[in-house]
Every structure is written in C-alpha cells, then in structure tokens.
C-alpha cells in the first residue's frame, strides 16, 4: 500500500504541478491588489477576497491530495454514477438553488456557496471519456455521435435554464475532444462557421452580413474558377440583375429597403446562374451557391427567431452574453475600461499595488472575470505575455501528457481537461482585450472564487492521478 502511494508521487508530472502553483499564487496576489487601498493593508484579512481565496486554496490543496490518494480506477468505475448524480444536482439547483447575479445556480449551505455547474464539467469529462473509450465507437459514423453529444449537451442544456450562458458555452469546447477522437473535420468547420455567423448576425446589421457573404462567395469563386470568363459572367449577371431590381424599386410607390433589393437580386441572379452552371456541369459552383443561400438563410432565420419569437427577456439575455447590453453605462463600457486599464500598464506595468484603473470598481468584476486587467495594469506587457506563456506551456504540456497515455480513457479525459482550460483561457482573456464578446467566465486558477478554483483543481488533479498510474493497467 505504502509503496504504491509512493509510486504515485514518484510518477507525478511535477511540471504541471509547478505551473499550477505559479498560477494560483499569481492569482491570489492579483486578487489582493484588485481590492487594495489604504484601508485594506493586510494580505491575510479574511474579510477580504484575497484572504478568502487563501482559504479556498488551502481547501483546494487538501482536495488535490485526496484525489491523488484515491485509486485511479475509481474515476473510471464511477464515471457514470457520478454523471447521473451531477444531472440530479443540476436539476435540484433549479428548484432549491439561490439566485445570484440573475442566475439560479448556487447551493447555499450556511456561509458556503457552491456552484454545481462548475463541478459538472469534471464529471461530464469523465463520462465522455468512459463512453468514447469503447473501441467500437467510430465518430465518423453519424449514429455513433448521438450519445457523446448527448453526454456533453445534457448538462449544458440544464445549465442554460439557470440561466448561466457562460458555463453552457464551455461545453462546446468538448467538441475539440471529439475532433481528436475522429470526428470529421468538416463538421467542426461547419459548426465553427455557424457559431461565428450566429454571433455576427446579432452584432451587425443584416445588410452588412449579407453583402459580405456575397462578396466572400465571389472571392472564393474568383480563386476557384480557372476560366475567368465564367467568373465575370457571374459577376456581370449579379450586377445587371441588381441594377434592374434597384431600378424597379425606385419607381415603385412603396420602396423596399436595400436589404430586400440585395436578397431579391441574389435570388434571381443565383437561379439564372444555377441553370447556366447545370448546363456546363460546374459542380462546385452549385455547391458554392447552396452554401451562400444557406448562409444567408441562416442569418435571416437567426434574426427572425431573435426578434420575433424570443421574448424580450430572452433577447436581453442573449444580448448580455454577446456584450451588446452587458453593462448599464452602455455597450462597450466594460471592455473600454478594461482596455484602458491594460493599455495604461505599458511595457513593464505600474508596479504591484500601484494600479489605479483597476481600483474602485472602474473595471467591473475586477477580481473575478476581469482579473486579467489587474495583471495588465500592474505588470505590464511583461506580465501579460508571461501569463499567456505560462498558460500556453501548461496547455501544451497537457497535450503531451494526454498523448503519452496508454489507455483511451486517460487520453480522452486529458483532452477534455485541455479543451476546458483552453476555452476559459481564450474567452476570458479574449474578452478583456476586446477580441471576443463579453461572456462571464473565470480565468482558471487566477480568478477569485472557491467553486471555480476547486473545480479546476479537481479537473486537473484527476488527470495527474490518471497519468501517474498510466503504466499500471495494461
């Protein structure tokens, strides 16, 4: 018994553990700074968030130890029962949970607040790994995709009801795991394109989107078509039809908006060109046209569903997620403040505790979702790029660990850990520097919050435990 436990510690990947400690300590140091002013001098003041985070860290380390002691087979055998338990807990929180910041996603037991959706990620990853490790599953077959997708999206759907859109979106990152295990790349590409189109539809005017889609289609056509004559026929057809439709529209008593003019033009010239290309057997043009019409149809239906079918509060919720109505001072305020804070840090930052913009609530949620601002302001470009390098190293190390596993279960779970951390890292930092919409999810190991820290610790250390005994059962 003793010797086996020793072997666990001997086989642990100490590099990941080192990076873990770098991140959590950097986190708590920044949380202290985010709250710091002349009246809050004591780092260990437990009424402060930094003091509380120290307690969460201590508890997280105890949890990590426990996880390392438990036999690694436990996680394989109990993956499914734990999954069922988690679904029940997520349902229960909808009923007996407490609403905080507009979503009913917390259990409150005395002074402790726990967010089960944070832990659901871990259990979902285990269940997914367990199911996919069956060698008979071929993800290139559509029917084999049903259950893995159900495993991923069942908790996501329940969490969406809370509603906690940020936590729901995290589950999409697990598609990356499916990709690694053989999901055809074209599905991933289509999925990504639709997601981008969905967000873009709500962010920009329909007219701009439809015009850029058409432009994009012509550009692709230009590069695909070897005989440039055909391309110019297509372009000419489109322009002439457009001119005609526009002309007719001018004389009509009631003018349609330019958006409809564009749609009608596309429909007419598209149909004519489709017939032409059928005669000339230009297959890929047909495909291109179908994709173009499909994309335009998709933006239109998203727009229609959003404005005509969804209720006001649902629209607002989506807008909040997309950062369109994320804050009371108007769109872009959060991101603007956050960019000012980060930008003002310069090359080497203002120095620890010397930040001015990340104090006094100028930047909202500065110790949770916007903690990266504090890093940017006080540690400058050195700090931000350093932190990104630490994360990138950790994530690359996770890929290496995952690939060296001898069982499919371990590898798949490893990739799930990688995907979830990658998603949080990308969205969180991306939103603070204005590259992605504001979606409120924490920066792993850094942001303030017990549930999130514990969940990421459990997620990571289960993988470390699996990795430590990778040579045991062959």
């Amino acid at each position: 018994m003793v010797s086996r436990r020793n072997s666990v510690f001997a086989n642990l990947d100490w590099m990941v553990i080192f990076l873990y400690f770098v991140l959590i300590s950097w986190g708590v140091i920044n949380i202290f700074s985010a709250e710091f002013n002349e009246t809050t001098q004591n780092f260990f003041d437990f009424s402060l968030r930094s003091g509380k985070q120290m307690i969460w860290i201590a508890a997280a380390l105890v949890l990590a130890m426990l996880i390392l002691i438990i036999d690694s087979r436990f996680y394989i055998y109990f993956a499914n029962p734990l999954y069922i338990l988690m679904v029940l807990a997520l349902l229960a929180v909808l009923v007996v949970g407490v609403e905080i910041n507009g979503s009913k996603s917390w259990f409150v037991i005395g002074p402790v607040r726990i967010q089960p959706s944070e832990f659901a990620k871990v259990v979902t990853s285990l269940a997914l790994a367990k199911y996919l490790s069956n060698p008979n599953i071929k993800l290139s077959r559509v029917k084999d995709l049903v259950i893995p997708l159900a495993i991923i999206f069942l908790p996501a759907m329940i969490i969406l009801l809370q509603p906690d859109t940020g936590s729901t979106l995290v589950y999409f990152s697990l598609i990356l795991v499916l990709y690694r295990e053989g999901l055809p790349g074209v599905y991933v590409a289509i999925g990504l394109a639709l997601a981008v189109l969905f967000i873009v539809t709500l962010l920009f005017d329909k007219l701009i989107i439809v015009s850029s889609l058409i432009l994009l289609a012509f550009t692709i056509y230009f590069f695909l078509e070897r005989r440039k004559k055909n391309f110019f026929i297509g372009l000419g057809l489109f322009l002439v039809t457009g001119g005609l439709v526009l002309g007719i529209n001018q004389v009509l008593p009631e003018k349609f908006s330019i958006y409809y003019v564009l749609l009608i033009t596309l429909l007419i010239s598209g149909t004519i060109f489709l017939v032409l290309s059928l005669f000339h057997k230009l297959k890929y043009i047909i495909l291109l046209l179908i994709i173009l019409v499909g994309a335009v149809g998709f933006t239109y239906s998203v727009d229609y569903v959003f404005h005509n079918i969804l209720e006001d509060h649902q629209q607002k919720r989506i807008n909040v997620v997309l950062g369109i109505e994320s804050d009371p001072l108007g769109s872009g305020y959060n991101v603007n403040q956050s960019k000012i804070a980060i930008g003002s840090g310069g090359f080497s930052g203002k120095g620890y505790l010397r930040g001015t913009q990340t104090k006094f609530n100028f930047v909202p949620e500065q110790s949770t979702d916007f903690i990266f601002c504090t890093v940017g302001e006080e540690w400058g470009f050195l700090g931000t790029s350093g932190l990104i390098l630490v994360f990138a190293t950790l994530l690359l190390r996770l890929i290496i660990l995952a690939e060296r596993q001898k069982t499919a279960f371990n590898r798949i779970y490893g990739y799930a850990v990688f995907s979830i951390i990658l998603f949080h890292f990308t969205i969180n930092i991306g939103m603070t520097i204005g590259l992605v919409p504001v979606i409120g999810i924490p920066l792993p190991f850094i942001s303030y919050g017990g549930s999130s820290l514990w969940a990421f610790t459990i997620l990571l250390f289960i993988f470390l435990r699996l990795d430590a005994s990778r040579n045991e059962f062959l």
């Binding site: 990709y179 009371p328 980060i342 930008g343 001015t356 006094f360 470009f381 890929i399 990658l422 590259l435």
Partner: protein, 615 residues
C-alpha cells in the same frame, strides 16, 4: 489502441499556439504600440464622474403635467483630499448642525478615503448660490447636481409612489445602481423605474497626484452622455383624482374608477392618504417615519391591498352565474318572507314586495332571492357533488379576475381570497358541508376577500357585457402609443354576453327606479345619465359595517366603471353610493349640478374618523 487520429494533435497544438500568439500581438499593440491609453504622467489618475439624467416626467390622461423635476444639490467630499478648513464657517453657510456635519464626515472617511461620498444632501438653490461663492476655500468638497421630484398638484401619492436612495439589496440585484443613487420605491415610480430613470452617463477627468482635475481625459472620447428618462402618460384624470381624494377626506376606504373599454384606471384613491411632496427631499425620512407610525396607516394602499367581503354587490355575479348555468331565468320568481328559511337556518331580509323576478331582486337587493339562486347553482344535479359544483362556481369568479393580481403595472397588489373546497373540507370534513353551509356566499358575505380594484374590474366586466381589459395606470411610454398589445390585454369571462341584460336592468332600476318601488340607490341618480349600480354592505366584526357601491355609466357604451368602499360607513347607500355618483358626474359632466350640491357638501363635511359631523 485507437490512435488513428494521432496526427490531429498537431492541428490542436497549432490552434493553441495561434491563440496565444494573437493574444500576445494584441497585447503588444495595446500596451506598447498604442500610446493613447497611456497616461501622461506616471501617477495620473482618471476620475470618473457619473452624470445623472433627469427623471422622466409624468402626465395625466389629458396631457396635464403631474410630476416634474427640480434641481437639488449634494455636497460631496473626498476625504483624502481634505485640508484643514473652517468647519464652523462651512456649517453656517449650509445651515446645518456642526455635530451632524462632523458625524457625516467621519462616516464618509470610514466608507472610503478615495471614493466621493455625499455629506449634505439636497441643498436648496438659495443655499447653493451662497455655497458656490465660498467653495474654493474648501478643497476636497464639491457640489453634485441632481434632481428631485416636484408635484404640480399634490395628489395621487399612492399611484405615483416615491423615489428614494437605493438600498444595498437593490444594488446587489441590479448593478446599474451605485451607492447614493435614486430609485423608484413604490407605485409608478417603481414599476416604470427603468423607463423613468434614463441612462446614467460618465465623464472622465485626468486628475493629478493632488487630485486636482487637469482636464477631460482624451477630450472626452470615452465619455458617455446621460440619456434623459422617458416621459410617461398615465391613465388617470388629475382633476377626477383630486376630486376623489377630496370626497374621501376624513374617511377610511378607497375609490377605483376604470374605463371599461380599455382597462385604463381613471382614478384610484386610498384614504386616508398623504401628499406626495411629503416624501421628497431632506424631509422624507422624518415624514416617512411619521406616516409609517400613523395608526390609520396612510401609507397602506387600500385600493390594492385591503380585502373585504363584497357584500350584496356580489348578487350581480351570482345572478349571472345562475343564468349561464341555466338554473335561473330572468322571469323566474321567488318569494321572500322577511328572509330565506331552510332547515332551521334563516338569512334575514328587509320588508319589501314579493315575489320578485331577477331584475327586481337586483333592484331591491333581496337576500332570499339570491339564496335560492345560489343553492340552485350548487345543487343543480349537473354535478356529482358539492365539490364539483363549488369548483364550477369558483371558476366563474376566477374568470372575473378575483383571487389573483389583475393590474398590469401596479406593484404590491394583493390577490385577495376565494376559498377552495379544501378550505371547507378542513373546517367541516369532506362530507360535512353543503350549499346551505356556505349560503352566506350567496349575498357576498363569508369567506370572501375582494380588493377594491378587483371589484371595480368586475363592474367593468359587467359594463362590457362579459369581458375586461387588465387594469393599468400607464398608457404611453415616451409618447409612443405602440404598446397597445401590452396595455390592451382582453380577458373574456365565462358568462355569455346575452345574460347581462336582466342583471344590468336590475342595476339600472336600483338607481333609477320610481320612488317607492324599493330601489336601493336612488341617491346615485343623475339627470341625463343612466347610472347602473348596486349597493353592498360588508359585515365588519370589529365595528360598524363597511359601505360599498359599484356602478357604471352610461348604461350603453359605458365610459366609467367604479367601486367605492367606505369603512364603517354603514349601508352602501349612505356613503359609497353618493360618492360614486359624484365621481361619475364629475367625470362625465365636468362639474356637479346645482340640485346635487347638497350631496357633495354632505360628503365633504362628513368626518367618519373623528366621529363628529362638522357643520
């Protein structure tokens, strides 16, 4: 081992590296290449000064301005910037107690040395003028302008509600609010808060180490202008509201008047009330405490929150249910021998001609008639037992809006109470009760809890011959009339429109019947308008009965439906009926005709609270 797709690890790694690279490039741009975010000197700070928009105005249904704004000034302090100053001198200018001032300063310092706190709130314009000249002598202080509510007519306090500072709980719920902001606390101010408040703006200033403003940050490029709050058009008629409040002075009770064709609330009075101006400005907390301690509960909105048994006004509804259930026909007669007698139980009635048909029974308000109607509904044989038939009867009540909140936009409304079968099962056992046990429901007594707005709504449903629109107090936000769908929510009752004629005929006779014919509400008769009404008396175990009256007018194409409750007013015809008829006359005719002035005088001079009749 399924490692067919091992090569995909390269694509995945590449994605990761690409993301990290994009981030680093973006950060390189933000933090090094782009200097616009860099501040000019090392220790310069941006100060954020919120810009408060003016709150939206409120107009009455005729476009008369009811609520507007007046500037008020808060003295703000940033404790870390204070220098030694002449405290006595400053207090003299402000006309405040020195102790209070020092106490507030201490609190501000404890809250935060850097964040501005308001130390003296709502300084009036005169004092502000004096203060402004001297302010340069007091570094660390500055004045912050905001607006206070002002009332053109000091009426409709319960409808309008009031505005107060946000509590921590409210801040936690909506992060729009910051410490010291104002928020609607009740009435329209609360339910239309998001429309009225507008959008705060923010101005960013560069401040040096000594916290002196150096100018606006990047020429105001990141500033946000405040957006003025939307104006509201209310549905009430300010003149009618003022008149109703005057009629109800020195009485306890309420008036609710509704336009049947739209559900718009024409007037909603709860007495005793208070003047809305009492809860504005520095006097608010003191006045609020006094009002909260008043034993007559002037803050309590009786029109929405008090529930009473509806008394005989409910006979109209029982008649309608009987007709719909086909257990009653308009020509059906019952005799009355000073009341209803069955198995040793008696429900008393007054002396009147007998037998009566339905219209006359409504006109005369015969208890015996409606005891028969009620029992026939419940014991018709159409249902297997009392539970089923009671549920059927109860559903009719629910379809008239009873037992639920019916207003679209008034906060704090109560549901009232309509008993369920389980309620009686608990008292009498499952088999222990029958239609006779609950006979008092026939005449609107017993276990019924009805709010005045619900009764007014029932009257509107009768006036409309079978449907109602959810009562509401706002008809347009920001002058837009495009909210028709929200405000015009039609509800159909379970009574077909053909059944209303005989009941309405009875209500017409109750007011307009010939002298000596037994009409219960002849005092409500107005020349040239056909008023249809019904009196009611709610039994009050704690004292004199409550006087109730419902009415609508004119009979065809009704423009107003009204319910009046006067607590301890005795019979419905004594106070509630005359007050209702005066309201109707005022609304439809503009003023009270000479030959009815005596009624108006009597109502104005009655003091039911202090017990004496003023002469």
């Amino acid at each position: 081992m399924n490692n067919l797709y091992e090569n995909r690890k390269f694509a995945i790694s590449l994605t990761l590296i690409l993301i990290a690279l994009i981030f680093i490039i973006k950060l390189f741009y933000l933090q090094i290449l782009n200097t616009s975010y860099r501040l000019s000197a090392e220790n310069n700070v941006i100060r954020y000064v919120p810009q408060f928009p003016a709150r939206g105005l409120i107009f009455d249904r005729n476009g008369k301005l009811v609520v507007h704004n007046e500037a008020a000034y808060d003295l703000m302090v940033i404790p870390s910037q204070l220098e030694v100053f002449d405290t006595t001198g400053l207090c003299e200018i402000l006309m405040t107690e020195k102790e209070e001032f020092i106490e507030n300063l201490k609190a501000a310092r404890a809250y935060s040395p850097y964040i501005p706190s308001s130390i003296i709130k709502q300084i009036n314009p005169k004092t502000y003028a004096k203060l402004q000249e001297k302010l340069y002598r007091f570094p660390g202080f500055y004045v912050h302008t905001r607006t206070l509510r002002k009332y053109s007519q000091d009426i409709a306090a319960h409808l309008l509600g009031y505005v107060g500072e946000v509590t921590e709980k409210e801040i936690a719920k909506d992060d729009y609010y910051k410490m010291g902001d104002y928020i609607g606390k009740s009435g329209i101010e609360k339910s239309y808060e998001t429309d009225l408040r507008g959008q705060k703006g923010v101005k960013m200033y560069l401040v040096d180490v000594h916290n002196r403003i150096k100018g606006s940050y990047q020429n105001g490029r990141h500033d946000k202008d405040p957006v003025v709050g939307s104006n509201l058009t209310a549905t009430f008629d300010a003149d009618l509201q003022a008149y109703g409040e005057k009629l109800m002075q020195n009485k306890i009770g309420s008036i609710v008047a509704i336009e049947p064709s739209t559900g718009e609330i024409l007037s909603l009075v709860s007495a005793p009330g208070y003047k809305p101006s009492l809860l504005v400005g520095r006097v608010r907390s003191k006045n609020y405490l006094a009002l909260a301690r008043d034993t007559l509960k002037p803050l309590f909105n009786r029109a929405l929150m008090a529930s009473y048994p509806p008394g005989s006004t409910f006979k109209t509804l029982n008649g309608l249910i009987g007709l719909q259930e086909k257990t009653l026909y308009p020509s059906m007669t019952y005799s009355c021998t000073m009341g209803y007698h069955a198995r040793g139980l008696t429900v008393g009635c007054h002396d009147h001609r007998s037998p009566l048909n339905l219209p006359s029974a409504v006109q005369i308000s015969c208890n015996a008639y409606f005891c028969n109607v009620f029992r026939n509904i419940l014991d018709s044989g159409k249902y297997t037992d009392i539970h089923e038939s009671f549920d059927a009867w109860r559903n009719y009540l629910l379809s008239f809006g009873f037992g639920q909140k019916i207003s679209l936009d008034l906060p704090n409304e109560l549901k009232g109470f309509i008993p369920k079968t389980s309620y009686y099962d608990r008292y009498y056992g499952k088999k222990g009760w029958s239609s006779l046990t609950i006979i008092s429901l026939a005449i609107g007594q017993g276990e019924l809890g009805i709010t005045p707005i619900q009764l007014a709504n029932m009257t509107a449903a009768i006036a409309n011959r079978g449907h109602y629109f959810s009562p509401h107090i706002i008809k347009a936000v920001a002058g837009r009339d495009d909210n028709k769908e929200r405000f015009m929510k039609r509800h159909n009752t379970m009574i077909d429109s053909i059944h209303f004629a005989p009941v309405i005929q009875g209500m017409e006779l109750a007011v307009n019947g010939a002298p000596g014919s037994g009409s219960t509400a002849r005092i409500a008769k107005i020349d040239s308008i056909i008023v249809c009404g019904k009196t009611g008396t709610a039994q009050n175990p704690h004292g004199k009965d409550h006087s109730i009256f419902i009415a609508f007018a004119p009979k065809d194409n009704p423009e107003i439906a009204i319910a009046v409750f006067v607590e301890n007013g005795g019979f419905g015809s004594t106070f509630a009926a005359p007050i209702a008829s005066l309201m109707i006359e005022k609304y439809l005719k503009g003023n009270i005709k000479k030959n009815r002035k005596w009624i108006e005088d009597r109502m104005l001079n009655t003091d039911l609270i202090h017990g004496e009749q003023k002469k």
